[in-house]
């Protein structure tokens, strides 16, 4: 084939990539969300389209109208209303929107996989006839020409819409500052919804056009769309024409590469390049393009909003707290030991838990503690696994075979320098760019290493041996727990003391941290290095628990799923990481395949309402219950007014109404609804409203315990000021303030 022939065959792919890029750009420019779900939505729509045509026998035009004019924009409107509007309302950072879009991606994947299974289908219908047209002496498909025409039309229409019209201006206003747009009388919600509908329609179109060209699989098609992010990066998130030209350029270049043949290793690399130029260009562009034209004021790196806990206490800890802490840890350890009592098959299922937990811990280090987004963790985990197996097989750079256990640790340590190098771009990058860069690294590693027979075939997993004895199932599980323990120790030393504080400082405000001497650069690299080693160890364990190396375990999409799971369960919580691992494994064992993805997706969408993930929602819930109990029954320093007011309403005499907390605390005995419970709490008494049923002795003990807790651990409860107390507080102050001076409503004369 000639170069021209090759170029013409590439037009179709280039045009579809351009359409996909336009869709991502539209969503970004109208809503400030880099929509990772683009691929998931494209896949879902493609599957529904196929279902309508192949299974229901609808005519293609009707199916296309339903898919593109009803389903796709409907998805966009739904997403805007349910997921992204709440986020925009509370001015969530770009990082949070990114996680929400990952949640949508995971959810759509889960739905597709749940309904149609993970198998591939080759019968996706095309909306264009299979005819060809002769241009010069080459035949070009009608579809390619039609797609090219669509690209041109979209480019021109969107360009005019954006630059010249009132709607375009409103869009730019809403995405710049939604609140100010509303203050200016711009209907921000409608504008945002329109942007979403347009973006998801483009996604659906991409999916329908791509499906007939490849075999339809949930993961494959999604990843294909994600690779077109290269186009978006080249456009620096802004320019439509650049996006289109890049898309066509990469497609043509990829096609032209087929003319070249090389021998040896270079030939292998070339072969991979011939089908993976988009993902390689994504990485290259991210490293080369100086700056994306990100929207907003550059705070998109802030992950503080989904990992908000501070440092562990630096001062002495009370004995009770220490005891509770130890009890909690013992409880957790007991739960982790529970699989030891399981039936052998179930125990084997549980093998995955510590391995996944280690991988999740590496994300806690990176995202939760040092505030850096990472969407490439599967790459590190896979490398750790690969190094370990190669070492154990005596196949790595001519090194002698190493016993499995030691190979595992050495393999993990060998991942660390790779983490250091790939962390380098993170020094100056954050937010969206860092997220995309880490994703590209993971994907490139997957394509060039894991999927290459040279590296990843012929690996066999021998059972581990320790001191000559083969590890049985129980012993292997124990060994996994030992590794998890090591990981927890690393996490602990990174979270406590000077390093812990410095890392959190970098996460919370890196300029502020630099201003007081924190070496931001070294700390970011340190986090990347250690995190990659931990992920490597987790990856090795994952392979050993499955007894085989599988490329799919470390596919780029896994990184996205894992990252989402970690954020959902509390990005800054080591316990959350372990619970997340247990959750995913348990659901996968108990429910049909794909259910865990669905569950994580649903949880991720709730981030709009639960900032901080499940972990902080649970923490907040406990504190809230404690506060309500305290408010209801216990007069302490900050609930005096509430209790006193209630007593006053109940008709009892209230001593010391004007304030002294002590007076109420000790002296309310005279009022009607008091039930003294004596000295257990240093004079704390339980005051019940008149007419309330008397508590049982157990109830009373419980109330006193809560009262004691409230009085002592003032911090957490004071931090969540009691709405009830505030209300009563102000009501009382009004009463004490006497007649209001000069009530408003009085006419005023304007001074000359």
């Amino acid at each position: 084939m000639t170069s021209i022939n090759l170029a013409l065959t590439a037009i179709s792919l280039g045009a579809i990539a351009a359409l996909s890029g336009i869709g991502v750009l539209v969503t970004y420019r109208t809503n400030g969300v880099l929509n990772f779900a683009q691929g998931g939505i494209a896949t879902l729509v493609a599957y529904v389209f196929r279902e309508m045509v192949v299974e229901w026998g609808l005519p293609i035009w009707l199916a296309a109208v339903l898919a593109l004019a009803v389903l796709s924009p409907g998805i966009g409107l739904l997403l805007e209303r349910l997921v992204f509007r709440p986020l925009a309302r509370r001015r969530a950072s770009a990082a949070e929107s990114l996680v929400a879009s990952l949640g949508v991606l995971v959810l759509t994947l889960g739905m597709t996989a749940g309904i149609w299974g993970l198998g591939s289908r080759g019968d996706a219908p095309s909306i264009f006839p299979a005819d060809t047209v002769k241009i010069g002496d080459t035949r070009v498909g009608v579809d390619a020409l039609a797609e090219l025409a669509m690209v041109a039309v979209f480019c021109i229409v969107l360009g005019i819409l954006g630059a010249k019209t009132k709607f375009g201006r409103q869009v730019r206003a809403v995405v710049d500052d939604r609140q100010l747009a509303e203050l200016s009388g711009v209907p921000a919600d409608k504008v945002a919804a329109a942007g979403w509908a347009l973006g998801t329609t483009m996604a659906g179109l991409t999916g329908i056009l791509l499906a007939p060209q490849f075999r339809l699989t949930p993961y494959g098609l999604t990843l294909l769309v994600l690779e077109t992010f290269a186009v978006v990066v080249a456009a620096r998130l802004a320019s439509l024409p650049v996006a289109v030209l890049t898309a066509l350029g990469i497609a043509v270049a990829q096609s032209e590469l087929k003319q070249v043949t090389l021998d040896g290793d270079a030939g292998t690399v070339l072969t991979v390049l011939q089908s993976n130029l988009f993902i390689v260009m994504l990485l290259v562009l991210l490293l080369v393009v100086p700056r994306l034209r990100e929207l907003g004021n550059g705070d998109s790196g802030s992950t503080g909003s989904f990992s908000s806990r501070g440092a562990p206490p630096s001062g002495p800890v009370s004995r009770d707290e220490a005891r509770r802490d130890v009890l909690g840890k013992l409880g957790g350890a007991a739960l982790l030991m529970a699989p030891m009592t399981f039936a052998p098959a179930d125990l084997r299922s549980a093998f995955m838990v510590p391995a996944l937990a280690l991988i999740f811990l590496s994300l806690v280090i990176l995202t939760g503690y040092s505030g850096q987004l990472s969407l490439g963790v599967a790459g590190y985990a896979g490398l750790g696994s690969l190094f370990t197996l190669k070492l154990a097989n005596g196949d790595l750079f001519g090194l002698p075979a190493v016993p499995g256990i030691w190979a595992m640790f050495i393999g993990a340590i060998m991942v660390a320098p790779i983490g250091l190098i790939t962390g380098w771009p993170a020094i100056r990058r954050r937010g969206l760019v860092l997220a995309l860069t880490t994703f590209a690294v993971g994907a490139v590693v997957s394509r060039f290493v894991f999927e290459q027979p040279d590296f990843a075939s012929g690996l066999y997993v021998d059972p581990l041996e320790l001191f000559g004895a083969e590890l049985g199932d129980k012993a292997f599980y124990l060994f996994e727990l030992f590794c998890l323990g090591l990981g927890l120790l690393v996490v602990r030393s990174l979270h406590h003391g000077r390093i812990g504080r410095a890392l959190l400082a970098v996460r919370d405000h890196s300029e502020g941290a630099a201003a007081v001497g924190v070496d931001v650069r070294s700390l970011k690299l340190l986090a990347f290095t250690i995190s990659s080693a931990v992920a490597g160890l987790g990856g090795a364990l994952l392979t050993f628990s499955a007894s085989s190396f599988s490329t799919d375990d470390f596919a780029p999409m896994q990184s996205l799923l894992w990252f989402t799971a970690v954020v959902v369960f509390g990005a800054d919580s080591a316990a959350g990481a372990i619970i997340a691992a247990g959750f995913i494994v348990a659901i996968d064992v108990l429910a049909p395949a794909g259910s865990s993805i669905l569950a994580v997706g649903i949880l991720a969408l709730s981030l709009g309402w639960l900032p901080g993930g499940l972990a902080s929602a649970v923490r907040g819930g406990i504190a809230w219950v404690a506060r309500v109990l305290a408010d209801e029954f216990v007069p302490s320093a900050h609930t005096t007014h509430a209790a006193a007011n209630r007593l006053a309403r109940a008709g009892g005499a209230v001593p010391g109404m004007a304030g002294a907390a002590g007076a109420t605390r000790h002296g309310a005995a005279g009022s009607s609804g008091t039930s003294g419970s004596g000295g257990s709490g240093g004079g704390i008494r339980i005051v019940l409203p008149a007419g309330a049923p008397r508590p049982t002795p157990l109830g009373e003990t419980l109330l006193v315990a809560v009262a004691n807790h409230t009085a002592r651990s003032g911090l957490t409860l004071e931090m969540l000021p009691s709405a009830r107390a505030g209300e009563a507080d102000s009501a009382e102050r009004q009463g004490l303030a006497g007649p209001r001076p000069h009530l408003p409503g009085v006419p005023v004369e304007r001074g000359a």
Binding site: S314, G497, D508, A515, L523, L526
Partner: protein
């Protein structure tokens, strides 16, 4: 020249065709409070970034004592004693006040590896001592264990200032420290700054609150259009005709722009960014009925 003095020599910073800072020389001697004033857009913020290391100058150098620190990163400068505060308080919202301060007190050395391996006891008590001393001297003990993200603006400023002190600065660069403070807080704050300077710290104060600047500083630089147009004792700078015309309000509201502008145009640099043409009709004018 003392070991702790900060000085700028011939600093130039251009953005494309625009020269934001043009050949600025400046001395911030230890034990003194130096002020920097200028209308919006005069180049104060850019100069400030050049001194802190957030930006690099196109020409000229920054000296700390005799040492050339022009190419040093902000954190390296901070470890050498050049500490800044921000226009928008930059606390670590998830940490307690004490931990915020501790971060500053314990980061003059970098060896994180030692900490990682568990040798973290060293120097810890010293850092805690500094934190306690600073908290006590600023009377912030009450909020020691409060989470920084929950504090009101006034307290945020004070805590950020305390955090800067915990880094044991030789030079303190304060960017609009009084904005957002109310009258009483500002009063307390200026007394505090004076106390710090008396301990031998060199202080540079950039603020819009001219009353604060002129009341508290020993020496003032006035910038217009990227250049220093006047420098010297507060009284002298206040009397300077250029400064008066472009920066200071010239009297009560009613008499504004009624020829109170002194003779003599700007003595250097381009036209001031924010000053309306003097003597002419008001730059902002609305005729009755335009706004209904």
């Amino acid at each position: 020249m003392s070991r702790n003095d900060l000085s700028a020599r011939g600093l130039v910073r251009r953005y494309g065709g625009l020269t934001a800072v043009e050949d600025v020389n400046m001395d911030v001697p230890s034990g003194q409070i130096t002020g920097l004033i200028g209308p919006n857009g005069a180049g104060k913020s850019t100069l400030f970034s050049l001194l802190t290391g957030v930006e690099q100058p196109d020409e000229g150098k920054v000296l700390l004592g005799q040492r050339n620190i022009t190419r040093m990163s902000p954190d390296a400068r901070s470890r050498r004693g050049l500490v800044q505060t921000f226009q928008v308080p930059s606390l670590f919202p998830s940490l307690t006040v004490a931990d915020n301060l501790l971060v500053a007190a314990e980061n003059r050395r970098r060896d994180y590896a030692g900490d990682l391996l568990g040798f973290r006891a060293r120097g810890r008590s010293g850092a805690l001592q500094i934190v306690d001393d600073v908290l006590a001297s600023l009377r912030l003990e009450d909020i020691r264990e409060s989470i920084a993200g929950t504090l009101p603006t006034g307290a945020l400023r004070l805590v950020e200032f305390a955090r800067a002190l915990c880094a044991r600065p030789d030079v303190l660069l304060l960017d609009e420290p009084a904005s957002g403070l109310d009258a009483a807080e500002t009063e307390r704050f200026s007394a505090l700054v004076r106390r710090i300077a008396d301990d031998g710290v060199a202080i540079l104060l950039v603020d819009h609150d001219v009353d604060l600047v002129f009341k508290v500083v020993d020496r003032v630089y006035a910038m217009v259009g990227g250049r220093v147009v006047a420098e010297g004792a507060p009284a002298a700078v206040r009397a300077d005709p250029t400064v008066r015309s472009v920066y200071l309000a010239q009297g009560p509201l009613t008499s504004k722009n009624t020829g109170a502008s002194p003779a003599g145009g700007p003595s250097g640099g381009g036209p001031p960014a924010d000053s309306p043409p003097t003597g002419g009709p008001p730059a902002v004018a609305v005729s009755s009925g335009e706004l209904r």
